[in-house]
Symmetry: D2
Subunit: 401 residues, 4 copies
């Protein structure tokens, strides 16, 4: 288990950090105050700079035009980019597009790649992933109502989805729908590519999340599918393989989420220290002289270090032993790092006082965007049960799912 960072990676990370600070941080407040859509032209300009610098799409194999980083390498990149809510987008490795590109590379037909993957890789379009349904607990992913029925050469999709992140402004959706209702639970659903301009694809609204209705890439939509008809050639992978394909992405997806969260943690830690150093309580006496702030700084430092090591270990284990062997580690980081993230953010906000609630810093936006970290991709409580199940199995106890 070796967590060393090669000189080549150190150089790469430093280059990315520089673009982040120079091109991306200055846009954060603008997004906070004017919204994401109004800032798109400037974001596009920043994307061009990334392309020019040869840093585009770090996670994508070289033959598809990316940097071809390994999972651990891209994890480190993700921790740098995560320092800004805009970082991944500007480098074209943002969720959910990054996951969709990965699926399309792995399972897409040549035609699907041409139509859906190529413009994604170029950054010309965006996509979304529609799985969660308001009527069913996300913790039970096999319980879906959305159906795709065959009719001639088409699938006809009917259903209700929400938390379809970044659907606003997307060109197509990857939709999880039941195609084989009588199959075993984990083989009932398929992933189907659905252009958003297909008749019957209904964008209901962007959800307000923690009081914040986002837009464009920073948004979570409610969608309906009313007799939404797409050709069967839009099926991704095999019929009934929806979960299997989703599962494949899970491990890497969590690593990247967690590394992104670590980026947020480091940014929050930096802002907390900076505020402690600059805010005067009385002339000449800064906040950082107060012991309670010092305690928060120290505890945050230890927590972030712990979290980082756990994510690296999980990534290493996935890479060396495979996702299945790393099950416990993957679930541990999901809840441990999410907990650290929200704790650190909370302390950083409190250190800033009223200012921490505003758009003067990215902290409030981080919190609003990431309170869901303890919920999405399976709530903490479900991941804890996964860990307990593995631990207790060795002692002969069956933990019910």
């Amino acid at each position: 288990m070796d967590f060393a960072i090669t000189p080549k990676m150190q150089k790469l990370l430093a280059d990315i950090q520089q673009i982040l600070e120079k091109e991306i941080y200055p846009l954060e407040r603008e997004v906070g105050e004017n919204g994401y859509r109004a800032t798109l032209p400037k974001l596009k300009a920043a994307r061009q700079k990334v392309k020019d610098a040869g840093l585009w799409a770090p996670q994508i194999p070289k033959e598809y035009g990316g940097l071809g980083l390994t999972m651990m390498e891209h994890g480190m990149v993700s921790a740098v980019l995560g320092q800004s809510l805009l970082g991944h987008y500007v480098f074209n490795c943002q969720a959910p597009d990054a996951g969709n590109m990965e699926i399309l590379i792995e399972h897409g037909t040549p035609e699907q790649k041409k139509t859906f993957l190529e413009p994604l890789l170029r950054g010309d379009i965006r996509s979304c992933f529609a799985m969660t349904e308001p009527e069913h607990a996300g913790s039970n992913p096999t319980w879906l109502s959305t159906q795709a029925k065959k009719d001639g050469k088409d699938y006809v999709i009917n259903g209700h989805k929400w938390f379809a992140s970044s659907a606003d402004g997307a060109t197509f959706a990857v939709v999880m729908a039941v195609t084989n209702p009588d199959g075993p639970p984990h083989e009932r659903a398929s992933q189907i590519l659905v252009p958003v301009n297909t008749p019957g694809f209904k964008f209901i609204k962007n959800l307000s999340v923690m009081g914040h209705v986002g837009e464009d890439h920073h948004s979570h939509a409610e969608l309906r599918f009313d007799n939404c008809r797409v050709p069967q050639s839009n099926l991704l992978g095999k019929e009934g393989a929806g979960f299997a394909i989703a599962q494949e992405r899970l491990g890497a997806g969590r690593i990247h989420h967690c590394m992104r969260w670590l980026g947020i943690c480091e940014r929050a830690f930096h802002l907390m220290c900076k505020r402690a150093a600059e805010r005067e309580l009385a002339p000449g006496k800064v906040l950082g002289t107060r012991q309670i702030i010092q305690m928060w700084i120290a505890e945050s430092r230890a927590q972030i270090n712990a979290a980082r090591l756990m994510v690296l270990e999980a990534a290493w284990k996935i890479q060396e032993l495979g996702q299945r062997e790393a099950r416990v580690e993957i679930s541990c980081i999901k809840f441990f790092v999410a907990g650290v993230l929200l704790d650190v953010l909370d302390h950083a906000i409190q250190t800033h006082g009223g200012m921490g609630l505003t758009t003067e810093t990215p902290l409030a936006a981080f919190y609003a965007a990431e309170r869901g970290a303890r919920i999405y991709d399976g709530p903490d409580e479900v991941h804890k049960m996964v860990v307990a199940r593995q631990a207790l199995k060795k002692y002969g106890v069956q933990v019910a799912t």
Copy 2:
């Protein structure tokens, strides 16, 4: 120390609960999705129903047209109204107007009462309070830069304020400004009435708070005063009495904030139980059968009960022994109840999963609006030092402020 609720009060609280559920809860989602301003006509209609029911302005003395409740009685009302973020407004006992009315009744000249108080009492206008400055720590309230200099018969005000709650849509502001820069620290500032249409009164923007830029009554503004000139007759109370007047309101103000928070707690508790009872994890198996949810419910119940008793005790002590004797209790409830509030909200949100982040429930709006509970009116850490100072004083230790 008697916390019994008289039959008369029980009746009053039940009547208010009924209006709340019937007239106010249905407006919450509309405010969440369309905004406060768009909902004003319906809020006005609800206010009329409150007037018709003879429940208008419960905290205001009868001679001024209110119900004339004592502090403890109004505290109980506040705990009922607090269940909705719209409750206090509809009954005309919302911050900061309630505090401003109280000051005007106590310290206003007949002319000030006619111009500023009477339309407030009728609910025809709203007001705001401008004290906090971005450049100075709120925890040191004697450190202000905004100045009001005498010039002929006028004050000329220059300064920068923020977190002027509800300034958007207000008709006038009560402005805390230094009038006696050479006086002792606590006698430097005065409170001055400033109509918002006075030249030099500049509304900069509504602050985004936890990602949410509100509007109208639900907002916090940044303001600038650029040679803003008002007649000296707009001085509230005596010159240099700004802090003394602000102090008078503090005890009662905290009780009402805390009781309002308890209202939020009870609503969140109710929603958590309801969700636990209704959400199916699998067909026929509801969330409330999970032990971890049961733990959250039990812990929340105990915490809320504790918080309620502490607030009642503090209110009782202020009423019987005066604000000074109740200093420790007042500071204790500030941080204890704020802590309970955010804990209970957090558990209620987590119980709802993704839905808890949206406007399907008021929980996310509660959280975004009240993360500041640990910051405004003095951050928790300052109140803890107040409590420690009193405790250690008996042992001969001086805790520096």
Copy 3:
């Protein structure tokens, strides 16, 4: 709900506080270093002073020689006495004797009263209560193996008990044993009076509790009953009424435990403040100038105040509405106050540094003696389920026991 303390009670509490400080505190360290048994003569002398002062057995009805206090009054006494681990014993209201006296007064036959109750009331003997069995979870009190079979005029008892507090040095035990194995679960067991010198009553050992093997009144024993034969006239109350009788004591028992814990909390709080005031970190700079200590003091103050009010409310509710109506409050205080107790002790110990671990203060002894507070009388987790069950019942959810 009135928590006022009458002048008469104030006087009584002050008198008790004085004896506590003058006669009892000086014995604590002796007990800590030499053991309980070696200190018995001095404890006996202190008991005599209590008798002389007319303060003996505050909880016992006047006709039985006590002060005849109500539950709330004795609760307040208990909070004073609880400040020392020796307090209750010196006033003859220590567990488990207090409970045994209460049962004997209520259910004892004249002969039982003469033999068992009267010497207890005088303080001439001690007793114990043997219910818990190592083989069965204490959270399921109907699941017992100890049996008492009728044989002629006798019961013949066989079984294994532990956590029989204060059995070391006791003259008799109240033993919970199954007499009606085929009855409904709650009607199977009876309470039987068993002198410790009965053949077959086997004292195995005093248990080490958190590393501390106590002795005499401060001890928890493991016992075995091997064909232990007592006359059937030693049955307490009706056959099969064992649980019903135990239940009767529960509410009041928890109030007194909780009030006793509050006494410990106040003592720990006092010691923490005292240490903060006296311990120099460097010449002239005391520990109490550190903000982290101030935070602990403030948080402890708020927690203790909260806990006290909750216990008073529960006591009031039991007194006014009965134990059944106060179920939620009784369970809430069980876990809430135990949690506060251990938190406050932990902070007080940490404030003392290494000294907090020794017998220089009673803190370590408090912790060792009361870590069990979260376990005995039903673990916290069981009480939380009781609270959740009541809350969820209103929403139609059945929480399984």
Copy 4:
């Protein structure tokens, strides 16, 4: 940064684990019930088996008769041995002897090595370290009162020490005493070797720690030095180098403490799972089916994993970059791992119910022995300030010590 375990080390760790389980675990309960001294003969027999197996003194260089492990390797051994409070002793790498051997190897004269080191290496004698004084805060190690004055060829030592671990039964003490009272604070004290049979060396008593008065190796003594005279040739290293020598040991000392704590964590985790699997709440329904226990198991697993990685990283950094560069990591593990240790123990105890308080498991003994983990070697709060100081230094803030 490579945390891989070589096959050679895997073999070694497995061999040690086997001896631990076979020879040492069976002695734990005996020590718990009969005391350490009574168990010495059996411990001696176990030590012989370790010697026979060629595993004696793993941390000692080969030329001195040990296994010559690196710091990271011995750290891993320590994590295995730490699973029992008897583990290190049986392998002759127990504190404080291990540290004293290290100092003697590094700084001892040939004569000192012959007299003091060699019998320690053989395990024939034990030693202690006397630094902490009751009158001065341990967090300020330069503030000592014990003095060693030169008189002819001797030092005459006067002073008062406590928490001299394992002094009971030791043959000599390493005493920290002021020899140069007028030197700079960190150059005032020296380390002096003092045989316990020297006149004036007064063993006052073994301290009760968390209610437990230990004995022999498991003990912490109070000592007095009354004109205790030793030859100046007993000076260890240079005069005035007392702190410098103590500092050298610090980094490695903390790694070994932390690894030992991780051993305790793993044992506690194992016992918690085992209990969850075996304890029936009702016939056929084990404790491990309860979700709250599952949460504790999962959270403990994540915390222990995090703690282990942090200790490995700190060890690696000390080894590669030196103690100074690893300052932040060393302080982080001190408080982070101590916190995890006590949390995990607390959950493991609670899982066992009343049994968790007794000597049926080693959990209570672990807790009593290790509550001090948050205090000794610098309280958590001091280490947090070290971390904050380093973090804030980069932002120009000086954190006072």
